[in-house]
């Protein structure tokens, strides 16, 4: 066991972890960051995606010890004073969610995309989000949501 320190959604958190523990499990089970989901546990579905040091990673393929000292941002962390962020509002308004299980991963990934490029082409959106699966098939609404939120990102 070793102690690691993570800054999760702006808050410094410590956890005792074993070397073979995955970031996914530590976030969920030790730090209770439950927006981080999983559906394949091997890097295919993308539902465990988080921003780690401002890079999107699939946390089922990251060791917790590797993440020691890292900054982690997840869908919960985009909420400010109880208000959802523009991308979250757009997901709500455009109906870009059904069962909602994949939604946090699409939200944090779309947030990252718009931060890098507030005016992505349809092709860029499709390529950027191609590592995530939504079985309910909200993909067209997700594209609408990104379009709906891009103004807010352009003015940031």
């Amino acid at each position: 066991m070793r102690e690691i320190t993570l800054t999760v959604n702006g808050e410094r958190r410590k956890a005792m972890v074993k070397d073979n523990e995955l970031l996914l499990d530590v976030l969920r089970d030790k730090l209770y960051v439950k927006s981080v989901k999983a559906a394949c546990w091997r890097g295919e579905c993308g539902l465990c995606t988080v921003l780690m040091n401002d890079r999107l990673v699939k946390s089922c393929l990251v060791l917790a010890v590797e993440a020691d000292g890292a900054e982690i941002l997840t869908a919960e962390g985009l909420v400010k004073d109880g208000e959802p962020s523009p991308i979250q509002k757009a997901f709500i308004e455009k109906g870009a969610l059904q069962c909602g299980f994949c939604t946090p991963a699409f939200v944090i990934s779309s947030h990252k995309l718009l931060t890098m490029n507030p005016n992505p082409s349809d092709e860029e959106i499709r390529s950027f989000l191609s590592g995530l699966i939504c079985r309910c098939g909200t993909y067209n609404q997700i594209i609408e949501a990104i379009r709906g939120a891009q103004k807010a990102y352009a003015s940031r």
């Binding site: 979250q88 109906g95 059904q98 939200v107 079985r135």
Partner: protein, 797 residues
């Protein structure tokens, strides 16, 4: 009637929680003192268990217990009753759970599960249902006559046939002889996975007093309770099933789940709560999927296009257990005639055990299969008759109020308008106008259409109920057990209540936990029935609450009830708006200025009962199988690359007669989502087995599910022919949106190049093989075109 809420594009009420990642799913829930279970599964397709050695496993620190089938010899099920909790004596497929390890941590459970050593005596296995049906095939269930099944299901003891079902109407033999043309074909569909994102997972706590508490990722709590109560012989009120947010269902969380197993594990582990989460591989190999399917058809048409005879045999590859698939075998047969009136029909469906993964319902079950066949038959016949397939569809389309279905049901006047559905698809897709020529001459573009109809496949008695409970401030708790796994039905129900009471939508709340103990009964949330059945129950509950409210208001305002109205959350005297009482002053009882009070807390109750449905005749399948019919269809424009066999959908049109739009945003989600799931299953998805019955692709790399890069634009066409008894005239639609996709795509290819695609999925390889077998010239021509184009490129350069 344009409502304040009904008909408005309102986001799902739980969207805030979902978008912020704070909605609790069962996967997220932990109970104090919880233990973890891990399955040990069979490595042979069919065999007797000789010995299970658990000694090494028990040595792993943290292991509490290892349970095997002989410790818990229960048989469970909803329809066929054929399932053990853990294999008893023998295993029936690779992946069949044989033992369960219970430990203090998931890691310990996994370590120990790796150490459980099982010895088998292998038995001859059978993987092909056509072989499995034959006399002398290895028997997979030797004693199925002993299973506790619903009486409508008819297994054939001494065979592997779990259910045989027939629909017979008219005289198909004679009609086939009288037909001018006969289409004779075979169609096949491979196994597919629901691929819901949240894998099946359960927490069970068998309390010391015998109360069983279940937390599960399931579509609706009542069937879970029913299966457990009936299988264990426990009173229903000692089982409490709670369902939080659910990460997708698609029919795969409707029938038999893991709850009974995990409950028993909790009891065995000293009454501590136990959680079981399936990994994706386990979901593929130990959970249930959609059955494999084979159809053998003869269809007779007259020269004028009339469809006069349909003779079809379906064989369903149900795998090791067929608990729900026996019902798929009924639905596929009584939906054989689709949207058409076919006077002579004979349809036999066999649900057959094989040594493969078990199977269950999947979104649109039975109907997806029957329409894959029927809608292609129409297209083939049109070509053979030299007619426009749209015209053949028009000629045979059912006529509301006149036509009689395959099961002998005369369709109601208000059943919907399939003709309007067809015409709106044809118009939107530009039927009859050739597609734009693709720039690459080795590709072709084509258009295809498929119609469909579906009603909820259910037993005749399948009621629902709802309660409306007012709070002190006039806000409302709407109590239903309607499942909430992505469809948004509960939002639509809340809209209805807000509309009826004239209160803000925020005032109506449906809790996010479905709970058998506090929510009124609803049979199941399946078959696209939630809005219809539970919506009617809700409207009846509204009526009941209003009656109570008006009674109190009438006394308080000293005014007969017929002069009162409910507007904007107030009871008013008609024409005298200053004479009014806000709801909040009534719903806990009304107090006069002197403090004396009348009435009391208001609880409205309402029910839905399926009054139209009947049992089907065991010999002929005649009767009323469903509570409504929703007609619809799908049109596509596709592009086919003749070099690779790859099909790309360029445009999709979805048209459904949903009776009345309650929420266009939620409806749009279903139209798009269903298309995408349907397209993914049509073009990509297949569970592959090796010759020993092992699943070869239990993952999302080689079992490919459509990603965002694969989806086309979808055009939604809402057709609104109200159904008199539907809530605001509405009908259900959730599942239907994927049923027409595959046949529409296949029809497009057939229209364009005459190549028949009888097998699903239509992967590039499958399509290439079909073209190579039927039109090899097209591939060689495509290669030449490609070379020619290259030379042109070169010449320009």
């Amino acid at each position: 009637m344009a409502g304040k809420f009904v008909g408005k594009p309102i986001p799902p009420q739980d969207a805030f929680l979902k978008a912020t990642g704070t909605a609790p799913y069962n996967y997220d829930i932990e109970l104090p003192g919880m233990l973890y279970a891990k399955l040990v599964t069979s490595t042979v397709p069919h065999g007797r268990i000789k010995r299970i050695n658990v000694e090494e496993a028990l040595k792993v620190p943290g292991v509490v217990k290892v349970v095997t089938g002989k410790d818990i010899p229960y048989m469970v099920g909803m329809y066929a009753g054929d399932r053990d909790l853990l294999a008893i004596e023998k295993v029936r497929w690779v992946g069949h759970p044989v033992a369960a390890v219970i430990a203090e941590s998931l890691e310990a459970a996994e370590r120990a599960a790796e150490l459980v050593d099982v010895e088998y005596e292998e038995l001859p296995a059978v993987f092909d249902p056509l072989e499995a049906m034959k006399p002398g095939a290895p028997l997979i269930h030797e004693h199925m006559e002993k299973y506790r099944r619903l009486p409508v299901f008819k297994p054939v003891p001494g065979t592997n046939i779990a259910n045989k079902f027939r629909v017979v109407r008219g005289d198909v033999e004679t009609a086939l002889k009288e037909a001018d043309i006969v289409i004779e074909e075979e169609f096949h569909i491979k196994h597919v996975s629901h691929a819901f994102m949240e894998t099946q997972n359960v927490i069970a706590h068998w309390h010391l007093d015998g109360t069983i508490e279940i937390w599960t990722s399931w579509q609706n709590p009542n069937p879970v309770r029913q299966i457990m109560a009936e299988s264990f012989g426990i009173p229903y009120n000692k089982i409490i099933v709670k369902i939080p947010f659910v990460g997708g269902g698609f029919g795969g969380k409707a029938g038999l789940g893991w709850e009974a197993l995990v409950a028993v594990l909790s009891r065995e582990a000293g009454h501590r709560p136990v959680k079981l989460v399936l990994s994706r591989k386990e979901q593929f190999t130990s959970g249930a999927c959609r059955e494999g399917f084979h159809a053998f058809v003869k269809a007779g048409f007259k020269k004028d296009g009339r469809f006069i005879a349909y003779d079809v045999k379906y064989v369903l590859d149900a795998g090791g257990y067929a608990d729900y698939t026996v019902n798929v075998g009924r639905a596929v047969a009584y939906s054989a005639d689709g949207s058409y009136e076919i006077p002579n029909i004979r349809c036999e469906a066999y649900t057959v055990y094989t040594n493969k993964v078990p199977t269950t319902a999947l979104r649109g079950f039975g109907y997806s299969e029957s329409h894959w066949v029927l809608e292609q038959v129409i297209e083939r016949a049109a070509k053979k008759l030299g007619m426009d397939s749209a015209e053949v569809r028009r000629i045979n389309l059912i006529k509301p109020g006149v036509s009689i279905t395959a099961t002998g049901e005369r369709l109601r006047e208000d059943v919907g308008n399939p003709r309007k559905v067809l015409e709106s698809i044809l118009q939107e897709i530009g039927w009859g106008k050739p597609s734009e020529k693709p720039k690459e001459p080795w590709k072709i573009r084509a258009k295809g259409v498929a119609l469909l109809v579906k009603g909820p496949a259910q037993p005749p008695k399948a009621p629902s109920s709802a309660a409306i409970k007012f709070n002190e401030d006039g806000t409302i708790n709407l109590l239903v057990s309607t499942g909430n796994f992505g469809q948004g039905t509960v939002t639509a129900l809340a809209q209805i209540v807000a509309e009826e009471f004239g209160v803000p939508l925020e005032s109506v709340r449906v809790d996010w936990i479905r709970d058998t103990h506090s929510a009124p009964y609803s049979w199941q949330t399946v078959g696209s029935r939630g809005l219809f059945t539970d919506g009617i129950a809700v409207l009846n509950a509204v009526k009941d609450a209003k009656r109570q409210i008006f009674k109190v208001a009438s006394e308080a305002l000293r005014c007969p009830e017929e002069y009162l109205e409910l507007v904007n959350g107030e009871v008013r005297v008609k024409g005298k708006p200053w004479m009014k009482i806000p709801l909040k002053d009534i719903v806990m009882g009304y107090s006069y200025p002197d403090g004396t009070s009348i009435g009391g807390p208001i609880i409205g109750r309402g029910v839905y009962m399926s009054v139209h449905t009947t049992n089907l005749d065991p010999e002929t399948g005649q009767g009323h199988p469903t509570i409504f019919h929703t007609y619809g269809g799908t049109g596509v424009e596709i592009e086919l690359d003749l070099l690779t066999g790859e099909i790309k959908v360029l445009k999709a049109v979805q048209a459904f007669d949903i009776g009345r739009v309650i929420n266009p945003l939620l409806l749009k989600q279903q139209f798009h989502g269903g298309f995408i799931m349907g397209m993914s299953i049509a073009l990509f998805e297949e569970i592959k087995f090796d010759e020993r019955g092992w699943v070869l692709n239990p993952n999302f790399t080689s079992y490919y599910v459509a990603r965002i890069k694969d989806v086309p634009p979808v055009v939604e066409k809402f057709v609104e022919t109200p159904q008199a008894d539907g809530p605001y005239g509405a009908r259900g639609v959730g599942e239907l949106t994927m049923i027409g996709v595959a046949p529409a795509i296949a029809n497009a290819i057939f229209n364009a190049i005459g190549v028949k695609l009888n097998n699903l999925p239509m992967t590039p390889e499958e399509v290439w093989k079909a073209i190579k077998a039927q039109r090899p010239d097209l591939i060689e021509k495509a290669v030449k075109e490609y070379q020619k184009k290259m030379k042109e490129v070169k010449a320009v350069a």
